[in-house]
């Protein structure tokens, strides 16, 4: 039987992918908490994207004051209450999620790719000066605490969100380099890599087409869990005044503003803080679920 119909080939390839996705979903859904996490995360992401359309007071995310409504406790009109200049906290929290998610996305996009590539190269060339060079540079960056470096950089340059994100990205890539380095150096001695080498495949092919697909799972899981940490880091920087600047509604910034009014006007701090907790928890639960998805079932 001749099998050379390109359309059938494409169909078969797609069918295989679909099956992989359904199997992945099955494994993910075995753990109810992961599903909860995914749902919460979905809600948060959608809310953040559609913030101007779904929040009751979208204008409050911009410069706005209304001292008549200031410092009101949570009520039917203002679910999370208002802050000391009269802005609706609920709407600001939803807009605040935009910054948090943005920071996570940007840091990981900037930090993960270089880290993975460097780790891949170092791992495949283990035992040579290439590995030594790359890994020692990685060590240097790992030695610096992220918060301190981010502080230093944002303090030197103007404190704003962009610089903050760059700073965190700068210290984030070494973790991925280490992770992928460990994976790549152990995969290097697998028979299928050896076979590709003996066939004459190029180093690029071996690194990116043979080894990298086997690193995908741990990297994805780590990324999901890292989102939570990065968001927290961003919120911390905002809290101390080096991140999202007022009057922008960063979650950390809001916590700082509201902290001055504790314990009386608790809603100013507590709700933004809970919002931070919610998003981090959601990412962690999803990360757990992803780990199950990638685990190999043993029967």
């Amino acid at each position: 039987m001749q099998w050379n119909d390109r359309r059938a080939d494409l169909q078969a390839t797609l069918k295989q992918r679909r099956r992989g996705v359904s199997r992945g979903w099955y494994k993910f859904s075995r753990n109810p908490l992961s599903v909860v996490g995914l749902v919460v995360l979905g809600i948060i992401v959608l809310a953040a994207i559609f913030a101007p359309y779904i929040t009751p007071y979208p204008g409050h995310a911009k410069p706005y004051t209304n001292f008549a409504q200031a410092s009101q406790a949570p009520s039917a009109e203002h679910w999370f209450g208002t802050d000391r200049v009269g802005r609706d906290i609920f709407s600001r929290v939803i807009f605040g999620y935009r910054f948090s998610l943005l920071i996570g996305a940007v840091v990981l996009s900037l930090g993960v790719a270089p880290g993975v590539i460097l780790g891949l190269i170092a791992g495949y060339h283990q035992g040579t000066w290439v590995e030594t060079g790359i890994m020692r540079i990685t060590d240097v960056f790992l030695a610096v605490p992220p918060l301190v470096l981010a502080l230093a950089i944002t303090a030197m340059l103007t404190p704003n969100l962009m610089n903050q994100m760059m700073a965190i990205a700068l210290v984030w890539w070494p973790w991925y380099a280490r992770l992928v380095f460990a994976l790549a150096s152990s995969l290097r001695s697998e028979y299928f890599v050896r076979e590709a080498e003996l066939t004459g495949a190029s180093k690029l092919h071996i690194m990116f087409k043979e080894i990298l697909p086997n690193c995908f799972a741990p990297v994805m899981t780590k990324m999901t869990l890292d989102m939570g940490i990065v968001i927290l880091l961003g919120a911390t920087l905002s809290f101390i005044g080096l991140g999202v600047q007022p009057p922008k509604p960063g979650l950390g910034t809001m916590v700082a503003e509201g902290a001055k009014r504790l314990p009386g006007e608790w809603w100013g701090t507590v709700f933004p803080a809970l919002a931070i907790v919610a998003v981090i928890l959601a990412f962690n639960l999803v990360g757990d679920g992803l780990r199950d998805v990638f685990s190999v079932e043993e029967v």
Partner: protein
């Protein structure tokens, strides 16, 4: 004449993404005291699952024991409490698995692991051993399996040793507990031929000495020939033939057994047979009736309808095949 272990009609299934895997389909196995029994079957036939069921170490979320009994010394293992099971595993049962890398803890030295085992199994019997006695027993256990330089081995980590040596340590660990029933799951598959020969003879000797019973699981007919008194052939989740070893090897009756015997390359040099056509069944949707019927050249209508029971064909030789009875 006492039956130490009697597995009766064991059914085990696994729940996976695509559905329910009905793996064990009524396994029946007997081991008498002091007897050496072989369990021969190929990859995927369920022999490891059976061993794990006896030890009650099947991971029970995906796995489920859906029927049958495992009677050890008169008690049903499947109904035992956690504590009873622990006692059983400590003193009565011991196992050797196929992959020593999974059985040995990579972060402890061999000495640490072996000493723990020797001490624990002795304490269970109410004996307290001095350090020197524990050490002596460990060294002698290692020496018994033919390890060179036991003192140095005690200080090594599993990764420092070759695969064959690791397996010998697992065997040493198993034998040092003086258990009554040894479940050996392909213990010598990865060993060199001359070493395998040594180990099997040593195993034979030691088992004889201690009066233990052995269930030797293997896919090698040659190994059962030398080591066991009775042998069971397993296919796709149930036993298809059982007999005294020499009898089965010389007069295999079940078509599967005959196929297996024909597939083994022989020293007489008649070439390599094509093996048995087909594949093991898909446990998600196993064939009805006799699970071997799709691959059997002697299949009849009744084979596709109900699974055959055991038919006695003289001198303790039982075959689960309609060629030997029950056709009407």
């Amino acid at each position: 004449m006492d039956r130490l272990l009697a597995i009766k009609d064991l059914h085990v299934g696994f729940r996976i993404f695509e559905g329910q895997l009905r793996v064990l389909n009524g396994v029946c196995l007997d081991v008498k005291e002091g007897e050496r029994v072989g369990l021969v079957g190929e990859t995927g036939c369920g022999k490891t699952t059976t061993v794990k069921a006896v030890l009650r170490v099947l991971p029970t979320p995906p796995a489920r024991i859906t029927g049958g009994e495992i009677i050890y010394n008169g008690q049903d293992i499947l109904k035992m409490t956690r504590r009873q099971m622990t006692m059983l595993r400590r003193h009565e049962l011991t196992a050797i698995f196929q992959d020593p890398l999974q059985s040995l803890n990579p972060v402890f030295t061999i000495g640490t692991q072996l000493r723990d085992i020797v001490r624990d199994s002795a304490i269970g019997r109410g004996q307290r051993l001095s350090r020197r006695e524990v050490e002596a027993r460990c060294l002698s256990a290692l020496h018994e399996t033919g390890m060179p330089d036991p003192e140095r081995i005690m200080t090594n980590y599993p990764v420092q040793l070759s695969g064959g040596m690791r397996q010998r340590i697992c065997i040493a660990e198993a034998l040092s507990t003086n258990a009554n029933l040894l479940l050996a799951d392909e213990p010598t598959t990865n060993l060199d031929v001359t070493i395998q020969d040594q180990i099997l003879r040593k195993l034979d000797e030691l088992v004889e000495e201690k009066g233990a019973s052995v269930v030797m699981i293997t896919h090698s007919m040659g190994v059962v020939r030398d080591l066991t008194q009775r042998v069971n052939i397993m296919y796709a989740g149930s036993i298809v033939e059982m007999a005294k070893t020499r009898d089965l090897l010389e007069r295999p009756k079940h078509p599967y057994t005959q196929g297996l015997m024909a597939s083994v390359p022989k020293l007489t040099g008649e070439g390599v047979s094509e093996g048995i056509p087909g594949r093991i069944p898909n446990y998600l949707d196993p064939p009805p009736g006799c699970r071997f019927h799709p691959r059997c050249e002697h299949r009849m209508e009744i084979c596709e309808m109900t699974a055959p029971p055991f038919f006695e064909t003289g001198d303790e030789h039982q075959v689960a095949c309609y060629l030997y009875g029950g056709k009407t």
